[in-house]
């Protein structure tokens, strides 16, 4: 099922109604799922459903619990509380069935770089028990989807970072999974390659009946999702379509440069009744009809202003309005979690 971001149905009410419609088939169901590592509550009880054919995104800063959630859904980590089913199978009690039904692309490459792309795929097919009779045709198809058919005999060592990621996506699709999990599919890639990867992901959505669950901390990438869950400190703080989430903010974001930020914040509060904060080095606040507000700002603030920027609500603003900070702030103040994650990643 493909959603159009600017079609006639794209009203916020329309999105919510469709998302909640009972005749849609849930492929992932999660109830109160939680995971604790020692003293760190990595995931603090999340609930959500992902429907067939959907691209569902987990958006949040590094260390918010995205990868831990994915690991539990992929049977790589055992939940400390709650339950989840993927493709109808329980992630704890029916691990093998879950594993057969999902494709996985991790943050770090898991290819054998000394083997050719084709050998990597054959290895995967054998481990997953892909019927031999369909294998050749299937390899051709998945390599075609990611545009690597003519490079199948090259050693992976000779691939670029983007090609490796594409090959991993192809490998994740090889065994006809119902859900494809992509953990930060474009992390560590340059911007051009990132947008390339998205072209391939969108193309594969056209060609395969598949549900995609992905995590990202890039706001622009979350826009590719049909629905996103914003996750912060292990909890889901908002869940909807990107459009509905942005519409729920309703206000524009204004950022100003001043010689004295504290004075400006005080003046904004006393003269306009606006609560402002400092984000990314600029005084930032939200206001309705931001462009019309700018002349008033200059006339009435009574303080020098060096620069003004007005922007429409973005997912960043959504994140800010639900968590009180931008995603970059969240990553900056959370070194402990980032380290805990690094530590776990090594094992």
């Amino acid at each position: 099922m493909i959603y159009h971001t600017n079609g006639p149905e794209a009203s916020p009410e329309g999105w919510v109604a469709r998302a909640a419609s009972p005749d849609r088939e849930p492929v992932i169901s999660v109830r109160g799922l939680a995971k604790r590592y020692g003293d760190i509550q990595a995931v603090a009880g999340v609930d959500f459903e992902v429907f067939r054919g959907e691209t569902f995104g987990f958006l949040g800063p590094n260390g918010a619990g995205k990868t831990t959630t994915i690991n539990m859904l992929c049977t790589l980590a055992t939940p400390t509380a709650g339950s989840a089913t993927v493709a109808g199978y329980d992630v704890v009690r029916e691990r093998d069935d879950v594993r057969r039904s999902i494709g996985l692309v991790f943050q770090d490459t898991t290819l054998d770089t000394y083997l050719s792309a084709e050998r990597n795929l054959r290895f995967h097919a054998e481990l997953y028990g892909v019927p031999r009779g369909v294998l050749e045709e299937r390899m051709r198809k998945v390599l075609d989807i990611v545009g690597l058919w003519d490079r199948k005999d090259s050693k992976v060592l000779e691939y670029s970072g983007g090609m490796m990621r594409r090959l991993e996506i192809a490998r994740g699709l090889l065994h006809f999974p119902r859900v494809l999990f992509l953990d930060e599919p474009t992390i560590g890639l340059d911007p051009q390659t990132r947008s390339h990867i998205w072209t391939y992901i969108e193309d594969l959505k056209q060609r395969e009946d598949i549900t995609i669950f992905l995590t990202t901390h890039y706001m622009d990438e979350a826009e590719h999702c049909d629905r996103i869950a914003i996750i912060d400190n292990g909890a889901i703080v908002a869940l909807d379509t990107p459009e509905a989430l942005k519409a729920s903010i309703g206000k524009d974001r204004v950022q100003i440069q001043t010689p004295d930020h504290e004075a400006a914040i005080g003046a904004l509060r006393s003269r306009f009744g606006l609560e402002a904060g400092i984000h990314e080095g600029e005084v930032t606040f939200s206001v309705e009809s931001g462009e019309q507000f700018v002349p008033r700002l200059f006339a009435e603030l009574g303080l020098p202003i060096e620069a003004v920027r007005v922007s429409r609500p973005t997912l960043d603003d959504v994140f800010m309005s639900y968590t009180g900070r931008t995603i970059r702030d969240a990553e900056a103040v959370n070194p402990l979690r980032a380290m805990a994650k690094l530590w776990r990643g090594r094992r």
């Binding site: 055992t78 054998d112 000394y114 050998r119 995967h124 481990l127 006809f176 094992r347």
Partner: protein, 291 residues
């Protein structure tokens, strides 16, 4: 579309994957084995280099030491004595290297690809162990070509029995390596730990000097060392094909004794196999436990 309808997991295109059956597990172990072979074949330069060390031991150290021990060898060259030992030694080192591939796989992420597959950890490790043992047997086989240069006759039957014994030796060493690999995260620590195990096992296996006449506490260690039971049959096989006086035979190839009973070769080989399987089982349990 051709479909092997043995399971219930229906994929996106309606194709059924094999359920977890014995056939599927064998398929998994086979591809892990095949990967070891492909990787070895692609890295022949390493294999060639690994042959240099035993040749050095045989002709340089063997020749040098023979001047020291020539008194009372009854006409047997020290190189002849050391020949099965050197083959065994090079096989041990290669086997340990084979097991190290598991640590490499972990460091480079490929292990994850295997561990998330719907196939049991046992199949993966069995594939690894047999693959590693096979790879480690090959350099030993190449060294057998040199038999004539150190006074060991070319006899097909002798070679067949030596190859079987080399494989069992490789298997038990690979299994030791897999147990260590299950607990180490970095190749450096793997190398350090295996050296600690491998060196005493090598010294107390009878590969480099006869085990008769050792003090009691060392004697006990030689009898619990799996490698003792792998090296001894090789030496006995070689000496059975030499024309030597009984006194010399007694001195250089006395066989492994429990009390006054000489352990027969088939039992020795069975012991090696059993210890290899037991170690492999430990490695599998370790891997099951690690999430």
């Amino acid at each position: 579309m051709a479909v092997e309808a043995t399971g219930t997991a229906v994929g996106a295109a309606g194709v059924r994957l094999e359920r977890r059956t014995f056939t599927h597990e064998v398929r998994g172990a086979k591809i892990v084995f095949a990967r070891e072979m492909i990787r070895w074949w692609q890295d022949r330069s390493r294999a060639v280099v690994s042959l240099l060390q035993p040749i050095l031991f045989l002709f340089v150290l063997g020749t040098g030491l023979s001047s020291l021990v020539s008194v009372g060898t009854g006409g047997i060259s020290f190189r002849t004595f050391i020949f099965p030992g050197v083959i065994a030694m090079s096989t041990m080192f290669t086997a340990m290297f084979s097991a190290a591939s598991l640590v490499w796989d972990r460091e480079f992420g490929f292990l994850r690809e295997m561990l998330v597959a719907p196939v049991s950890r046992a199949s993966i490790l069995i594939g690894k162990a047999i693959g590693g043992a096979t790879v480690a047997t090959i350099p030993g086989m190449v060294l057998l070509v040199l038999a004539g240069t150190v006074g060991v006759p070319y006899d097909p039957l002798l070679f067949v029995s030596l190859v079987v014994e080399l494989f069992l030796l490789s298997f038990v060493v690979t299994a030791v390596g897999l147990v260590v690999a299950g607990r180490t995260r970095q190749i450096q620590s793997f190398m350090a730990i295996t050296q600690i195990f491998l060196m005493p096992m090598l010294f107390l296996s009878g590969a480099l000097f006869p085990l008769s006449g050792l003090p009691a506490w060392l004697h006990v260690l030689t009898r619990v060392n799996p490698l003792t039971y792998a090296v001894d049959p090789m030496r006995r096989a070689v000496f059975a094909h030499l024309d030597v006086p009984t006194a010399v035979l007694k001195r250089f190839s006395p066989g492994v004794t429990w009390g006054s009973w000489t352990v027969p070769i088939p039992l020795e080989l069975l012991l090696v196999l059993a210890m290899g399987l037991a170690l492999l089982a430990v490695a599998i349990i370790e891997f099951r436990r690690a999430e």
